[in-house]
Structure formats: structure tokens, C-alpha cells
Amino acid sequence: MEIHKTSWLMGLLVTVLFIYLLAPVILVFPISFSGDEVLRFPPTSWSLRWYEALFDNRDMLRAFWTSLTLAFVVTILSLVIGIPAAWVIVRMEFKGRDLLFNVFTAPLLLPTIVLGLAILIVFASFGLLATMRGLVLAHLVVSLPYALRILAVSLATQDRSCEEAALTLGAKPLSVFFRVTLPMLSSGIVAAAALCFLVSFDEVVITLFLTGPRISTLPVELYDYVYNTADPMVAAASVLLILLTLGVILVVERAMGLGRAFVK
């Protein structure tokens, strides 16, 4: 087995593996333009009928707006709650700082199927099932750890000399925070916001436990739809979702580099 940078065999192997990795995401593009009645590849004719069907589907549209509103609210709240928390954990010295950070990011370690069930049982007794408030709270449980982690990394690697200079020159601490610390944190904030938005917008397992006929999100609505009929309309919705995701990825890449946001 020759594994070397220059080996064409290695290049071929990696190309095949990349095709496998990306096949499901790429294939939905041609399928979304299918003119067929059922899911078939390659399609026998082409049309925009499934996009029309998608935009005529009232349940999907309503779920899309719910998801969008939900993701916006969750993103804003994650930042408002996450920035002060990250600041305290990174900048103040007190006992149990690491423990606290681990506790706050612990929800990420749990499988969503377990967390979803656990939240369902508790929210049922609080009357939070199938309500916007309940969905916001549940999504915050999983979005806040991401926000906290990214913001803490950004704060910890921030150059402190500007803050110190501002303080020495007599700026009030609060205005130092708002006029020096926060602007210098902007790339971390953008990355955290983008990730929180995606986490909330794509969340499906936990949400599945908490939604009902009264309120539903786009991923849950799509899940239900695929479970019953996997026709090309889902491909049209998938294409729009993928484009939205790509847009958000570009924002993160611009703001801080994908590698830094995900690998560390």
C-alpha cells in the first residue's frame, strides 16, 4: 500500500472517498429539478414543479417561518447570555472556574435523543410542550455551550494591551468593555452567532419531542414528510437549506476561519 503525497493511487482513492462523502448532498440538486411524479434518478424529465409544490405547501411555509423566528431569537439570546458568561469565566479568577465551564458545556456530551426525552418529561409538567417558549428554552440548552466555547476561546486569545491602555488613560471599565473588548471580540461573536443560528435552525431530534400540530419547525416538518412520502419536493427544500447553510459557513469562514471554529 503506497501512501505518499505524490502517489496517484492515493489521489484516486481520496477522490472516490470524497464522492461517497458528498454524494447525498450533491444528488439532491439534480433531483430537485425533476419533472417526475416519484423519486427517481436520473429523472426522465426536468421542471420546477417541486419548487412550486414547496412554495404552495402551507405547512412547510409556516414551519419555515417558525424555524427562522426561533433561530433568530435563540441566536440573540445565546449571545446576550453567552458573552457575559464567557467574560466572567475567562477574565475573573475564582475557584471552580474550569468545573463551571465543563458543567455549562456538558449538554453537548449528551445524545440528543436522551436530552430530548429528558426535556419532554420535564417540560410536560411545566406546560411548555408545543410552545415557542419551550422551543426557545430547549434550543438554548444546546446552542449556549457552542456560543460559550467559541467566545471563551476568542476572549482567551485576545490581546489585552488595548484594554489596559484604555484603562490607564482613564476610560471607565464599562466603556472599556463596550468600546474595546466587545469590538475586538467581533469575529468570535459572528462565528458564535452563525453557529448558534445553524444549531437552532437544523435541530431536529430534541425538537421532535416538543412539537405538535400547533407548532412545528422546518426540519421536523421535513422529517415527517420524508417518513411518509420521499418525493422530490424534499429535494427542493433540501437545496434551499443547503444554500442557506453554505451562506452561513461563508460568514464563519470570513469571520474566524472554519478550522479554528470547529477543530479546537
Partner: protein
């Protein structure tokens, strides 16, 4: 620290401590209400008794646990979940290793581009990717079509374990690749070169130099993939067509369809126990590697 001290000095009414508590209060509240309380409650529920019609009797009993171990359906379900997860993890490792190695050796814009390609499926909804696999593996899809055009009978790919296996492996690969790359930091190209100049064959070089150096990354990736496979829900549910029973799908069915919350809780705690066992195995492997 300077900012922290100064911030509190300017308002002498509050101490450092009080400011910290006030700023941490919202995140702590959400953590308690949305995480700690639910998990504690879940553990308690696994010792409660389910009554007919979805009721719950608040008694302390081991019935759920003993019932689980006596019922052959559940024993098979648990073993099935573990075996499939191990298989998926192994496949994901074999398929991800060359990609990770290639990425580790590339540089510049090309590397960034490929990294984005690896991460983008990760950020695409699991429902979308599973739907993509349904499209690929369905009877009217490209794979079945290709096999038929060669004149062979295609094996059943959808609504059984084959489809779930293929789809799940692909869905978990990005996690494996990222974990492997994180562990590849110790792999210095100079070490490989040294081995080759000293006369090692490519296979020897891989087996005796590259593999041992990348072992911690392999261990981390396997832990991550196994844990995600055991708890995966969307892919088995949508691609299994109600014929593939795994832990996560059973938790959902018991919670939503049968409304047996104590049993669903017991299965959930079981998933967490399997997680714990995987972690123990992982740290044992890491110790041996050192």
C-alpha cells in the same frame, strides 16, 4: 483581571463575587432547568412504574431494568445497536483515514477548500443527508440502476439494515476525519522520510511509523463515532422503514407512540451507561498507548 477589578471598584456597592454571580445567573438557570433537572428526573423515572394508558406510578422499583434484561427482544435490540455501531465505526475509520492523511499533507488554499468540503456535510441537516441517501439507494436510484445495467440483481438496499449502515457511515465520517486530523499533529513528514531513507518499505513505514503516531487520533475518532452511532435516530428511523430496531428509535417509539416514559427513560439511561463504558475503554486504550 484589571478590567474585572476596576469594573467592580467603580461601583462599590457590588463585590467582584456578586457581579460574577449576576452575569452567570442566566446561563446557570438554563443549565439547571433544561439539563440538570431533566437528566436527574430521567434517572428517577427509570425506577418508576408505567401504568396502562400512559400513567406513571411514583414507586421505587427495579422492574424496568429486570424486565429489559429478561426480554429477548430488548436483549437483541441492545446487542444489535452495539454491533452495528461498532461496524459503522470501523467502516468510518477505514474510509476516513486516507482523507485525513491527505488533508494533513496538503496545504494552503487547497487544504482550506477540502476542509470546507469535509465540514459542510456536518452542518447540513441530518434529514437532508438521509433523504439524499434514500434517493441514492431507492429502487429507482442510481446504484440499483447501475447494478441492473450490468445484469446483476441488486441486493435490497432500502428499508433494511444495509441502507442504515451505508448512510450512517457516511454521516459520521466528517466527525471521524476531524478527530483524526486533530490527532495527526504529531505526524512529522521528516520522521516518515527518515524511515524511508533507512530502508523501510512503504508498508513498513505505514505500519511501524505512521500508524503508531496517529493512534491517539484513531482512538478519539472511534470513541466519537461509536457514541454518535449508538444514539443516532434520524437515519435508522427514516432509512430503516420501521423494520430496523435500534436503541434510539425504540426510545422515541416508547416515549411518543407507546407513551411508556419509564421504559423510555430506562433505555436512555442504558445509552448513557454504554457511553460511560466507551469512555472507560477509550481511556484504557490511551493509557496503553502511552
Amino acid at each position: 483581571m484589571t478590567t474585572a477589578i476596576a469594573l467592580t471598584r467603580s461601583r462599590r456597592r457590588f463585590s467582584d463575587h456578586q457581579v460574577a454571580i449576576a452575569l452567570l445567573l442566566p446561563i446557570a438557570l438554563i443549565n439547571v432547568v433544561g439539563f440538570m433537572l431533566p437528566i436527574f428526573n430521567l434517572a428517577r423515572f427509570s425506577f418508576n412504574r408505567a401504568t396502562t394508558g400512559g400513567g406513571i406510578e411514583n414507586v421505587l422499583t427495579l422492574e424496568n431494568w429486570t424486565g429489559l434484561l429478561r426480554d429477548p427482544f430488548y436483549l437483541e435490540l441492545i446487542l444489535n445497536s452495539i454491533w452495528i455501531s461498532l461496524g459503522v465505526t470501523l467502516c468510518a475509520l477505514v474510509l476516513s483515514y486516507p482523507i485525513a492523511l491527505y488533508l494533513h499533507r496538503s496545504s494552503g488554499t487547497w487544504r482550506t477548500f477540502l476542509t470546507v468540503l469535509v465540514i459542510s456535510p456536518l452542518l447540513t441537516s441530518a434529514v437532508v443527508r438521509t433523504y439524499g441517501w434514500i434517493a441514492i439507494l431507492s429502487d429507482e436510484g442510481p446504484v440499483v440502476g447501475a447494478i441492473k445495467s450490468v445484469g446483476l440483481t441488486p441486493p435490497p438496499l432500502m428499508f433494511n439494515i444495509n441502507g442504515v449502515f451505508i448512510g450512517l457511515t457516511e454521516i459520521l465520517m466528517p466527525y471521524m476525519i476531524l478527530a483524526l486530523m486533530a490527532g495527526f499533529g504529531r505526524l512529522d513528514p521528516k520522521v516518515e522520510e527518515a524511515a524511508r531513507t533507512l530502508g523501510a518499505t512503504p508498508w513498513q513505514c505505514f505500519r511501524r511509523v505512521i500508524l503508531p503516531l496517529t493512534a491517539p487520533g484513531i482512538a478519539l475518532g472511534c470513541l466519537l463515532c461509536f457514541v454518535l452511532a449508538v444514539s443516532s435516530f434520524i437515519t435508522p428511523k427514516l432509512m430503516g422503514g420501521g423494520r430496523v430496531f435500534l436503541l434510539a428509535t425504540e426510545i422515541y417509539d416508547q416515549a411518543i407512540v407507546t407513551l411508556n416514559w419509564p421504559l423510555a427513560s430506562t433505555l436512555s439511561i442504558l445509552v448513557l451507561i454504554i457511553f460511560g463504558a466507551a469512555l472507560v475503554a477509550y481511556s484504557a486504550v490511551l493509557k496503553r498507548l502511552d
